[in-house]
Amino acid sequence: MRAGLLLGLLLTVVFAGAALISLLWVPYDIEALDIANKIKAPSGAHPLGTDHFGRDILSMIMVGARTSIAVALVAVGIGMGLGVPLGLAAAAHRGSLLDEIIMRGNDLVFAFPSLLIAIMITAVFGPSALNAIIAIGIFNIPVFARLVRGAALSLWTRDFVLAARVAGKGAVRISWEHILPNLTNLLIVQGTIQFSLGILAEAGLSYVGLGAQPPIPSWGRMLADSQTMISFAPHMALFPGLAILLTVLGLNLLGDGLRDRLDPRLRRQAR
């Protein structure tokens, strides 16, 4: 679906753009409290209204986008950085003890949802955005390891790999020079999906207080703050939630669209 890809791209660009612009300019300073203007419904001066400290919600969402994107992006980086080499190694030594250890380790990490990892880290080190990054990052490792192992196994049976082996290349060189380049598309698509899952997970973690701490704005934190005021200030809950929904939707559509474009063979599964 072309329309889906375009919509996904548009939403992603809007939120990435909002995060980038917030580095240079936001409509209102989010650290300046303006109690006289607290809990104002959307108006010309504040298009999305103000919160219980009189802060402009649009500005908060723009800066919050930075937190979400940074956490999710680094978590994808951790997942790929560790998961891809593990998956490549497991595939290169299929059936060996190493493969077995990597795969069992994967299963083990799968038993720890990122929320539980975050709970354990927070119980020992206290809450922070870094905890959220580590927790989501750890959860991403087996996702990439499994994906890469599966795809690499089928590549290892191909003729060009056989040719490379005959030429005397070792497992590491073959993985790096022949297997990995053929996995790029797959990694881009999965990376987009994990990125969107990371944004959802970060929102959940900061909502329960395990993620970014005040004064760093984050979408989940804004929702937690709005919860007790939802009956008389629904706009405080509405807009940060919409921001999460639209960003995640955009990334999912982008991921699906990219999968269709980059790998027509996968279209069957994309249905």
Partner: protein, 314 residues
């Protein structure tokens, strides 16, 4: 089947052992001296010594790990430092909220996803299919705790059909208890139902290409009949796998959703324990949830080896 079962049981035991070791090391070895950590900076030396004695910290970590394991095996999770009550009792009280919530959500998710997935598959490419796919796309992207807040706003605050939070208690009858879990369960089920609908649909479409479907059509069944009578069974394997995987998300999700509705479940217990630095409680809750996830996935493995004998050899 017996050999398969034994092999799976051994790997189950190993997984549980390694998982418990990871949890133990993270929460009891990494903090250094758990007693000093739990009491904070201003602790008196004699209080510290007493807590160390109480927690059995005078023994080495390996001995402590094994006494923790054997304790749990006999239902003794230790004593909460902040509440001065056995952790096992605190957990079992709260489990009666979190567990029914997760199961309620799982039931809803299956009840929504099966008909929706089957319908979408039978209407493939038509407007109904596109509509179902569009809704599930939204369902996957929506943060469930935000959806829960919106439901509170609409159904509890504006329409007053439900209470905005809290738990009526099972003592007031099954219905009262279920009613207070209904909004949380819907919120929890929404993303899972969306995922399951998509899996159901694509699993069905995959089986529709098989020869036995063509045979069924050739003997005069309509597309819908062939789908319901023949394709559905064979689509169950991927669907079962996903249901098993979803269980861990439901348990974790329940902890977050409980927060929205002020339900006194495991989530509330664990967050209070974190702020009180009650490591024993955190450790037990995490272990319990990981245990549940590992055992459920073991059960799913067994279930589909039983459904599909071809998988036993793997």
């Amino acid at each position: 089947m017996l050999r398969y079962l034994v092999r799976k049981l051994v790997s189950l035991a190993l997984s549980l052992l390694v998982a418990s070791a990871v949890i133990f090391v993270s929460l009891e070895v990494v903090p250094g001296d758990p007693a000093a950590y739990m009491l904070g900076l201003n602790a008196q030396e004699d209080t510290l010594a007493a807590l160390r004695e109480e927690l059995g910290l005078n023994k080495g970590p390996v001995a402590r790990y094994f006494s923790w394991l054997t304790g749990m095996a006999s239902g003794d999770f230790g004593t909460s430092y902040t509440y001065r009550t056995p952790v096992a009792d605190m957990i079992s009280d709260r489990l009666w909220i979190s567990m029914p919530l997760a199961l309620y959500a799982l039931t809803l998710s299956v009840l929504i996803a099966f008909p929706a997935g089957i319908w979408a598959a039978s209407q493939r490419g038509k407007p109904a299919d596109l509509a179902v796919m569009g809704v599930t796309q939204l369902g996957v992207a929506i943060p469930n705790f935000w959806f829960a807040m919106l439901m509170v706003l609409i159904f509890a605050i504006n329409l007053r059909w439900f209470s905005a939070g809290g738990f009526a208690g099972w003592d007031n009858g099954l219905l009262a208890g279920l009613k207070s879990l209904t909004l949380p369960a819907i919120a929890l089920a929404l993303p899972q139902a969306s995922i399951l609908t998509r899996v159901m649909r694509s699993a069905l479409l995959d089986t529709l290409g098989e020869d036995y479907i063509r045979t069924a059509r050739a003997k005069g069944l309509s597309r819908g009949q062939a789908l319901r009578r023949h394709a559905l069974r064979n689509a169950m394997i991927p669907v079962l796998t996903i249901i098993g995987l979803q269980f861990s998300f439901l348990m974790a999700g329940a902890i977050i959703i409980e927060n929205v509705f002020f339900l006194p479940g495991l989530g509330q217990l664990v967050f209070k324990a974190i702020s009180a630095r009650d490591l024993i409680v955190v450790e037990s809750v995490v272990m319990l949830l990981v245990f549940a996830v590992i055992v459920v996935n073991f059960a799913v493995d067994i279930a589909y080896a039983w459904v599909d004998p071809r998988l036993r050899g793997r």
